[in-house]
Subunit: 185 residues, 2 copies
């Protein structure tokens, strides 16, 4: 299996998130306190693989709540029908998600694009075959409720496991390629 | 890490299921067609670790739909408020789930007890600290909707990773011990 840090030729859109074993990326009120820090995970090396962060409006609100107006060192792109560019300097706002609106981001990126969240944006991008990888750090906990990895849909997405890593804390990092989607019969 | 097939001294209740990466154990209509067979997984060896299968009423209905009245070679115990023992020979019916009703099963078992499903029974047993392990075979697929690993609850369950195995098909088997639960503040 290939290394998790292997450099790629063309910018890819990678959905890289922490997840509970039961498939939640945040608690029912957006809680992230269950995401344990792990000294063996090299976050700087992960950050260095990306120059663009792509996120939905709700995820962006979590970022601003944490005291940031954009992701440090990254072009920050927020997908939202309602946010007005005039009100937000330092970020790019996309009013719709499609192959046409995403293509310029890929052209402009020299590194990969981090799909930072959340569930709805991932579903919408995946339905257009626009997500290249799903990379989850499975935290050893069951949340029982919360924000799901992917928003409710009847469409299945086939994956192919490309890399894995097991950490001493019990975090399991799994990296999958998203296989091209075929409409269900 | 210990072997997945290590024999244990006292019977344990083990929740052993196939799961999509987004945390579903069945599709929205109970579908199991996404569970790929894997020639490298030794099902006979897994079956041999158990002599009792414990399941909820809905899971039992799936078993009967598949043409079985009980799990071959296992004492089959169905938790249900409504089923009447007189109508079902060859299975044991438990009308309630508690430490008191489960204890006799453990005493009678010489091997481990397979918590065969589903989401509600797991939640109810776990809330009483009655489940010893969670063992998921993560299938490389996102279902987007379906029957969750655990029924909706606000209570978190902490886990400890005890074993893992990666198969060529991309199935990832993760074995966790359930840590004793403390009520949330």
């Amino acid at each position: 299996m290939s290394s998790m840090t292997a450099k790629q030729a063309a910018p890819r859109i990678r959905y890289l998130v922490a997840m509970s074993l039961d498939g939640f990326i945040a608690g029912p009120h957006g809680e992230a306190d269950w995401i344990t820090s792990d000294p063996d995970i090299d976050f700087a090396a992960t950050f260095a693989q990306f120059d663009t962060a792509l996120m939905g409006r709700k995820t962006y609100e979590q970022v601003t709540k944490a005291g940031y107006s954009s992701l440090p060192g990254m072009k920050t792109v927020v997908c939202s029908r309602s946010l007005q560019p005039a009100d937000y300097s330092g970020i790019t706002i996309l009013h719709s998600v499609s192959r046409e609106t995403i293509a310029p981001l890929k052209t402009a990126s020299r590194k990969d694009i981090w799909l930072f969240g959340g569930a709805v944006l991932f579903r919408d991008l995946a339905s257009e075959n626009l997500v290249d990888t799903v990379e989850v750090s499975v935290v050893p906990i069951l949340l029982g409720s919360g924000v799901p990895l992917i928003a409710d849909t009847a469409d299945r997405i086939q994956l192919s496991l490309t890399a894995h890593e097991i950490y001493k804390t019990g975090i399991v990092r799994l990296q999958y390629a998203v296989l091209p989607r075929h409409p269900q019969a």
